[in-house]
């Protein structure tokens, strides 16, 4: 009998199946370096038909598998522990850009910025803009329900995905959603988006495109107090003005960026900066710019700089966009969390994060989507130092618990993956987790797609008997 490697090689060619340890090293981690798992082999289909054949071959062999886009995810979601990794990065065809109906259909391996470039020709853009957009793929964005700075106004991937053709783990091909919008029946597309590779693999994704805003105004406000910057954020949101993006960096993060090759001219002596994009039609936009500036000043902003041209705007954003790159240069390991709290809770939670970091002797950087309340507390550390790694772990656990206690959640855009799976029982009760398990069972009764991710397996095992049965 042919091995699974031989079967897959017969589909995609010998060169597209990696089986040796040295060849697999690149696929042992994703964008979060704290986790490392080695797949048994990695297969890279180059066409839709090859992908279909690969999934069906895996189904026939009852082999577990993990789909992977560009591997830029930040939750350990695309790691395969001794199972088959299905790489989708060769499926890079933009099938259609329909400028009249403002939709595009792409293969899952199309890089986010490639789609942006294709849409830009028509004065359109794809709204979700994760920080990794120059590398991450639309298939990965759909699997993770990715966000980005400009999702504050425009929404996350879920809000922009209108249809997917999906191959289920058993090889069945289904169409979820419709390129024409509304469908009757269950929102199966909504269930698929953000399912982290546990429900199958998208063969193609149809996404909504938006017209480029005719005007964008970018402001940078600096504060001598992180707390005041947080209060300003809450006040902007409460005012009803909806910025396209509202980002915050604390003083430590500002100084890190300013000391790197990504220096953007932020004031290095501040305790926090707010970076605000306001966009839309020309009419009335200046009113909102003035209102945001006034709110920042009322909350102690020392200076509010307003970009006057594209070059200045790009420069102001550079510091924010490159901050995680600057962080990566500090130490061998980086932990980057992804919690969300109600916007009114931001000032209190940021104070708690500072106190928790101090208690554990850990320097926590805060660079995040303040307008959504989507925090990204981050720490660079030496992973080879067990004592330091333990302190960082304790610190991050306490921060996540503080966010949950504040009425928040454990992930706003990175997904649960491996990294946050232990927090799931803190957020959801047993019945809710069991219901999630049953939803997965519908798509993947054999639990072969990305097993061991998102929902703790014990949540499924412990709830064999229905509540109705337990009651009786």
């Amino acid at each position: 009998m042919q091995s699974i490697g031989g079967t897959l090689a017969a589909i995609v060619g010998e060169r597209r199946v990696l089986q040796r340890g040295s060849a697999l090293v690149a696929y042992t981690s994703d964008g979060l370096p704290g986790y490392s798992q080695t797949p048994s082999l990695a297969v890279f289909p180059g066409t839709r038909q090859e992908l279909v054949d690969v999934v069906r071959a895996l189904a026939a062999a009852q082999m577990p598998f993990v789909p992977r886009g560009a591997g830029t995810g930040l939750s350990g979601g695309a790691l395969a522990d001794g199972t088959v990794l299905v790489g989708l990065n060769r499926l890079t065809r933009i099938i259609e850009v329909d400028a009249v109906n403002r939709i595009a259909t792409v293969e899952p391996g199309v890089v986010n910025t490639s789609l942006q470039k294709a849409a830009a020709v028509h004065g359109l853009h794809y709204a979700p803009d994760p920080s990794s957009q120059s590398a991450c793929t639309i298939g990965g964005n759909v699997a993770e329900n990715a966000g980005g700075p400009h999702c504050l106004k425009y929404g996350v991937t879920l809000n922009h995905t209108v249809a997917c053709t999906v191959i289920l783990p058993d090889g069945e091909i289904v169409t979820l959603g419709s390129r024409h919008g509304e469908t009757a029946g269950y929102d199966l597309l909504g269930a698929f988006v953000g399912s982290e590779g546990c429900f199958g693999i998208a063969l193609d994704c149809t996404v909504r495109l938006l017209p480029d805003p005719p005007r964008v105004r970018t402001l940078l406000a600096d504060f001598m107090s992180l707390h005041e910057a947080a209060l300003a954020t809450s006040a902007i949101i409460a005012s009803g003005i909806l910025p396209a993006a509202l980002e915050m960096m604390d003083g430590a993060a500002v100084r890190l960026v300013e000391s790197s090759l990504y220096a953007a001219g932020y004031p290095a002596d501040c305790d926090a900066v707010l970076l605000v994009d306001l966009d839309g039609v020309e009419d009335g936009l200046e009113h909102d710019v003035s209102a945001v500036e006034a709110i920042c000043r009322a909350h102690g902003a020392r200076e509010v700089r307003i970009a006057t041209n594209v070059t200045e705007r790009t420069m102001l954003w550079q510091g924010r966009k490159k901050a995680f790159g600057a962080m990566g240069r500090v130490a061998s390991h980086l932990v980057l969390q992804d919690a969300v709290v109600p916007r009114t809770q931001l000032p209190d939670v940021l104070q708690q994060i500072t106190a928790i970091g101090a208690r554990h002797g850990v320097a926590v950087w805060n660079i995040f989507h303040a307008g959504d309340g989507n925090l990204h507390p981050s720490v660079s550390y030496d992973g080879s130092n067990a004592e330091e790694a333990h302190r960082v772990h304790l610190c991050m656990t306490e921060i996540m618990q503080a966010c949950i206690l504040a009425g928040g959640t454990i992930t706003g855009e990175h997904g649960v993956g491996l990294d946050k799976i232990d927090y799931m029982p803190s957020l959801f009760d047993g019945d809710t987790l069991a219901a999630m398990c049953r939803l997965r069972d519908v798509f993947d009764p054999g639990h072969r797609a990305n097993r061991g991710k998102v929902v703790p397996i014990h949540s499924c095992r412990e709830w064999h008997q229905s509540p109705a049965g337990r009651a009786s």
Binding site: G123, E144, N145, G147, C151, V156, L158, V174, S178, G181, E182, T183, A184, G185, Y186, D187, L188, G190, A191, G194, S195, C198, P211, D212, I237, A238, S239, G240, I241, L242, V281, E282, D283, G284, L285, H287, P342, R343, T344, H369, D372, G373, G407, G408, T409, I410, T411, G412, V416, D431, T432, A435, M436, R438, L439, V442, V455, S466, P467, A468
Partner: protein, 388 residues
């Protein structure tokens, strides 16, 4: 006793708490008794006929659980009416960007369960875009609490989207958390002559330009527009603008350069929502924006002279046409059947006899497996036709 749609009051269960809903559904599951789940029942003739022993009405499970204006989020029990939500949020200059069909005594639970939206979907999207979390009792007997009260959340598999638009076939939604918006300083409604099909084809891309930012942009047939007092019988495009003074002034000037328009009372939007109050058939037909005008023309030709009273409105940005038939609908049945040029046809209500020929979107394939996973006894809002 098996009933269809109409029930005597004695068979109506009226829970006031989540626990009561849970207990009533567990009883139904234990007794293998089909149950009809509804909100305030203001849309009684919507959806397929239901086979049930009891009706579980959520109308008394009402009230706002949490409202934090600074977060622009609100959590309300399922039976809270749209009017109550409007009143509570207006006190803080906020609103829910949802204007579903029906009058405002309809409930938020039913709005979410049926994924109903209206012209404001142009700017704010449909319920799937606005619901942040919900609590529900499933037909499996669980009380589940997916989602949350924050505006961004990807924790776990998305049961929130699954329940939104499930028409009560997976269980009963008991509360929902929703994203709110600030009420615009100025809220202006304009009626613009739509002209003939040729003119409408020219007008649609102009109204979708990035220099315009509209809350709603809805085409309305001339007869209905005349009955609503906003036209002499010509088709109109109703436009809703919301924003600060400079925004509204600038946008009005831009629109006037396209075609001079008349300002109308904002109450016209409630009147459009109520168009279906005595309808015998209501069908949404979705398709590409680029085919909207040709689909409208084909529908008009098919419906013309059939003797029934028909109102039509359509979203110029979303490509959705809503056809509302009042009185005897039989003569229009053929014209309202699925056609190749209508990629999606979603019946909201139909004469009872028509449902037998309708596909049940909650059965078969993945949908059927979902249903079986969450309501294994097929007890919740069981269709009397397809699933009998």
């Amino acid at each position: 006793m098996t009933i269809m749609h109409t029930v005597s009051e004695s068979s109506v269960l009226l829970p006031r708490t989540d626990d009561e809903v849970h207990s009533m559904l567990l009883d139904a599951i234990a007794g293998h008794e089909p149950i009809r789940i509804c909100g305030a029942d203001t849309w009684r003739n919507a959806g397929a006929p239901i086979q049930a022993h009891h009706t579980l009405s959520l109308r008394d499970l009402s009230g706002i659980i949490a409202y934090v204006p600074g977060d622009l989020t609100i959590t309300a029990r399922a039976g809270t009416t749209m009017a109550e939500l409007r009143q509570a949020t207006a006190a803080h200059d906020q609103w829910l960007g949802l204007d579903p069909a029906g009058d405002r005594t309809g409930t938020i639970g039913a709005t979410i369960a049926t994924a109903s939206s209206g012209p404001l979907a142009h700017a704010f999207g449909t319920p799937r875009d606005l619901v942040l979390g919900l609590d529900a009792v499933t037909g499996y007997g669980e009380l589940v609490r997916p989602g949350g009260r924050v505006v961004k959340n990807v924790a776990g598999f998305d049961l929130v989207r699954l329940f939104t638009g499930s028409w009560g076939t997976l269980g009963a939604i008991t509360s929902v958390t929703l994203r709110l918006r600030a009420t615009p300083v100025h809220d202006v409604t304009l009626a613009m002559p739509a002209g003939d099909a040729h003119r409408l084809i020219e007008l649609i891309p102009v109204l979708r330009r990035n220099t315009l930012s509209l809350l709603a942009c809805e085409w309305l047939d001339g007869t209905t527009a005349r009955e609503l007092g906003i036209s002499d019988g010509e088709d109109v495009v109703l436009i809703r603008l919301g924003g600060n003074d400079a925004f509204v002034r600038g946008q009005r000037a831009l629109l006037d350069r396209i075609t001079p328009s008349q300002q109308c009372d904002a109450a016209i939007w409630d009147a459009i929502s109520a168009l279906d109050s005595d309808a015998s058939a209501v069908i949404r037909m979705t398709g590409s924006v680029s085919t909207l005008v040709s689909r409208l023309e084909r529908l008009r030709a098919a419906l013309d002279g059939a003797g029934a009273s028909v109102a039509m409105h359509a979203s110029l940005a979303r490509g959705v046409i809503r056809v509302i038939v009042s009185g005897e609908a039989q003569s229009l049945r053929e014209a309202l059947q699925p056609a190749a040029h209508d990629p999606q046809r979603i019946p909201e209500r139909l004469p009872a006899a028509w449902w037998a020929a309708e596909h049940d979107p909650f059965s078969g394939g993945l949908a059927g497996r979902i249903r079986a996973a969450f309501d294994p006894g097929l007890l919740c809002n069981r269709r009397s036709v397809a699933n009998a």
